[in-house]
């Protein structure tokens, strides 16, 4: 892969340009932006402001005086120095102030801050901010350049918009339809587990947050030319729904409902998990040429004839899966990977084959690749100590994202932010505190 004209191999060249270890030497893409995140208990909103903060925006997190309920969302209720584990992940690089949206004085402060920012993010019930006089209708009068991202369950308009329902990941996943097509087939195993199965992480919240940022950045680009902001209505359920493959179109074309089929994929096979001697492994080889490669590695040329076409392999997936497991049962996942890599690296035959050992999170932490690429990082935070965090995953050659700090205590930046933007001194803050506004 050496390029004679340049003398450097591509991986070396790419690494020199994008090594995250040198991110701090480079400029930040969004350091001209200010963001006010006044969301409540919503990790779609928090992930959105995390992305903006990772790329350099000044993000001001607005919490009620007792702290956002998001600080309580933690497995088993575990806290670290007073804050739940999930919040420690999505508070990165954010300034933290308090402000009570339920008090008149607090709302006044929010409206004043909104004059100074480019993006507001909120997750109240649709219409709530408007009723308080601090929704997009009112804030856009004060700041016509404002981009306002509203996150909710059913959206700001449409027949179900007025349903007063809080936004959660599990309900958003349900709405997307993805759990319906994920899991063991109805009746194929124990009743309690042969059901629609959600992704174990907050998948819809993360998808929702990323979609919110995508839309906000597009709005930002449009603002360069138009000088005008806008309202962005985002529901994590519809966000994940957008990713749900053939679902609606297959129904339109054939009135077919995509049902659960466990690990037997309806579009591609083999593209599946198989039991190995030690655990499980994913194996793929679904097009004719790639399936030929897979059967070569398995030393089972007969399978090529028995499952000759893409259609055969999909329709007889269960039978083929058994053949795969007959072969994989005697091997470890590592041995399968070694055989695949040998086949690919030495071009021992046709086709592109792929495999992977099923990783539990602990297995991921044991692999050097992620550490070398800075995907996982130990961050030394002044308030919360050393934390193991997932770092921003993109590598940008000129304006790389980065983590500066992990989290801040409730209200830790009140003095700085209120002085910087509203000129309020210690005495003013004391009065506001006494009134319960901050």
């Amino acid at each position: 892969m050496t390029d004679t004209a340049h003398g450097t191999s591509w991986p070396q060249f790419a690494r020199d340009l994008t090594d995250p270890g040198r991110a701090h030497e480079k400029p930040e893409a969004l350091d001209d932006l200010r963001v006010l995140d006044c969301s409540s208990g919503n990790f779609a909103a928090l992930f959105a402001s995390s992305i903006l903060a990772e790329f350099g925006a000044e993000v001001i997190r607005v919490e009620p005086p007792a702290g956002d309920v998001a600080r309580l969302f933690s497995p088993g209720g575990v806290k670290h120095r007073g804050t739940g584990l999930a919040y420690l992940v999505e508070a990165r690089n954010k300034r933290h102030i308090t402000l009570d949206l339920r008090s008149e004085q607090g709302r006044l402060l929010l409206a004043r801050l909104a004059r100074h920012v480019d993006i507001v993010i909120e997750s109240e019930l649709p219409g709530q901010m408007d009723a308080w006089g601090i929704g997009y209708r009112q804030l856009s009068v004060l700041n016509p350049r404002l981009i306002y991202l509203a996150v909710s369950t059913h959206g700001q308009f449409g027949p179900r918009a007025a349903r007063a329902m809080p936004d959660y990941d599990i309900t958003a996943q349900a709405m997307s339809g993805v759990p319906y097509v994920t899991g063991e087939a109805e009746g194929s195993g124990p009743a309690e587990s042969s059901v629609p199965t959600r992704q174990g992480n907050w998948a819809a919240w993360y998808v929702g947050g990323a979609f919110g940022v995508l839309a906000a950045l597009a709005a930002l680009h449009w603002r360069v030319a138009s000088g005008r902001g806008q309202l962005i209505d985002l529901t994590p359920g519809e966000a994940e729904m957008r990713l749900s493959d053939v679902g609606v179109l297959w129904y339109h074309a054939y009135q077919r409902i995509h049902e659960r089929v466990g690990d037997l994929h309806i579009q591609v096979f083999p593209y599946t998990l198989v039991k190995t001697r030690d655990s499980y492994a994913f194996v793929a080889g679904f097009s004719d040429i790639n399936f030929a490669g897979l059967t070569n590695i398995m030393e089972r040329p007969d399978l090529k004839e028995r499952f000759a076409t893409t259609r055969d392999r999909i329709l007889k997936a269960r039978e083929l899966h058994q053949e795969l497991e007959r072969w994989s049962a005697d091997l470890t996942a590592e041995e399968i990977l070694t055989r695949f890599q040998d086949y690919m690296t030495h071009k021992r035959g046709p086709g592109t084959v792929a495999t992977a050992r099923l990783n539990r999170p602990q297995d991921v932490l044991g692999e050097a690749h992620w550490w070398e690429r800075g995907v996982l990082r130990k961050v030394d935070d002044p308030d919360y100590g050393e934390l193991l965090l997932q770092a921003p995953p993109w590598k940008l050659s000129r304006t790389p994202p980065r983590i500066k700090w992990a989290c801040r205590p409730v209200g830790a930046d009140n003095e700085l932010i209120y002085l910087k933007y509203l000129g309020l001194g210690k005495g003013d803050l004391q009065a506001l505190r006494a009134a319960g506004a901050i």
Binding site: V178, A215, A218, H221
Partner: protein
């Protein structure tokens, strides 16, 4: 929430976001051209999300077979000779077929890159560099180019060489499958290509970050994005807990260990997800269940108590009993009335028939010149001034050769015919997945 019911607000939003007015509004990314050299899902979605927001996407494929996704369709069913799996990530694009193994093909491609703002590719790391159309070569021609290199494991690092990747490889290596499903049962793949789709979304987001930098400085740059690393980012509290306690995370079924109660329940006519983590919402749920006493029971009264595993399990069992006697619409209505979250686990038909989703354009019906009536998942985020939109459906390989090569590169019809003659450019193979519908008799190339 004690404030007034803001009916006037919903009248205002209904007018502001009116589906019928979308095409009367401008597009956010008007004037941005995306050049796409991709296959399957990760690369095409990256470009598709930008296209929905108004970028012009030129999709280059290797003729005559084109993108592998043209042959990835449910149960190998070809609808109007096309793969149903190819449509959801290829909207409103201009499809051209160029043989990039030919020197002339590379030259055409470089000319297109010179006229583009964003380039998206998802070949294995280093492939396009070897072909002479990678970032190193294109940045010389166009320093403003934002070059998005999508991959399974990145452009460098131990796993980046000699290892193929698909969506499910990312699901498998990232730990996502490791924390999904039910304990003691076989691991479960996500029913859609989540590593690809989420990856495309993240890559498109980074491209817009880079566009903002370019708006400020004029500089393009390289973006290295790996889908496995995208999924690692989404595993919420997994890593921080491991760092603090050494505790590994495994599957726990559908319940949410951090938000209680939150689970998926079986009803008389399907499944419904219910969540009520805040105390006031939980009180509402208890009232709906006809058990208001639960809300003050010390085992359940506060979130920290409900989060204790034994309390969570007992509580979820009680909700399961209650939901099992109802229809899913009754559980949803109870949620709306009592202020907790309750949403059915939607099937494809549920989505297709949902008036709410249609009114919002999240289920999007349109008339394509070649395929007729289409109904698909529509753009996710709703932008009031510059709404995202679908204009037309994916087309066969090389469908827009004439249009693009003439309009962007100024090639005459005879020059284009000569390129076709020399097989530098090409169009669809005569096989399912690549070719137009049987009814097509030539003519319009929209």
């Amino acid at each position: 929430m004690t404030e007034r019911e803001p009916q006037d607000y919903f009248q205002w939003t209904a007018a502001l976001f009116d589906r019928a007015r979308i095409f009367d509004k401008p597009e956010a990314l008007r004037g941005i051209r995306v050049l796409e050299l991709t296959t399957l899902v990760l690369g095409p979605t990256t470009a598709d999300f930008l296209g929905e927001l108004g970028a012009e996407v030129v999709k280059v494929e290797l003729p005559p077979g084109g993108d592998t996704m043209r042959y990835v369709t449910p149960e190998a069913m070809y609808w109007q000779n096309a793969s149903i799996g190819f449509f959801p990530e290829n909207h409103s694009k201009y499809h051209i077929g160029i043989d990039l193994h030919a020197e002339e093909g590379k030259s055409l491609f470089r000319q297109l890159a010179a006229r583009s703002d964003i380039m998206v590719e998802n070949f294995r790391a280093g492939t396009l560099d070897r072909w002479g159309v990678g970032y190193r070569q294109l940045r010389e021609i166009n320093p403003r180019l934002i070059y998005v290199a999508d991959s399974g494991f990145g452009q460098w690092g131990p796993f980046s060489q000699g290892r193929a990747s698909y969506d499910a490889v990312a699901q498998t290596v990232s730990g996502m499958i490791g924390i999904t499903g039910f304990p003691g049962r076989p691991p479960i793949l996500c029913g859609m290509f989540i590593g690809d789709w989420f990856g495309g979304l993240m890559a498109a987001t980074a491209a817009l970050v880079a566009l903002h930098h370019r708006d400020r400085t004029g500089e393009g740059q390289l973006i290295d994005f790996a889908q496995s690393e995208g999924l690692i980012r989404t595993l919420d509290w997994t890593w921080v807990r491991h760092g603090l306690t050494g505790q590994d995370r495994g599957p726990v079924g559908n319940r949410d260990e951090a938000l209680v109660p939150a689970d998926i329940f079986s009803t008389r006519d399907g499944y419904v997800a219910v969540a009520a983590a805040r105390d006031a919402e939980f009180t509402g749920l208890c009232e709906a269940m006809g058990e208001p006493g639960l809300a003050t029971d010390p085992r359940y009264a506060t979130l920290p108590e409900r989060q204790k595993p034994e309390h969570m399990t007992a509580l979820l069992d009680r909700i399961r009993l209650w939901a099992g006697k109802l229809a899913r619409a009754e559980v949803e209505a109870a949620g709306a009335r009592h202020g907790f979250a309750a949403v059915r686990v939607a099937t494809a038909r549920d989505k297709f028939e949902d008036d709410h989703l249609r009114a919002r354009g999240s289920v999007w019906e349109y008339e394509d010149p070649l395929y007729g009536k289409m109904v698909e998942q529509g753009p996710a985020a709703k932008l009031s001034e510059t709404p995202a939109r679908i204009k037309w459906a994916a087309k066969p390989v090389g469908w827009h050769n004439q249009d693009v090569l003439n309009r962007l590169l100024g090639l005459s019809p005879s020059a284009i015919a000569a390129l076709q003659e020399r097989k530098v450019i090409g169009q669809w193979a005569d096989r399912n997945g690549a070719r137009p519908p049987a009814e097509w008799t030539g003519g319009s190339r929209i």
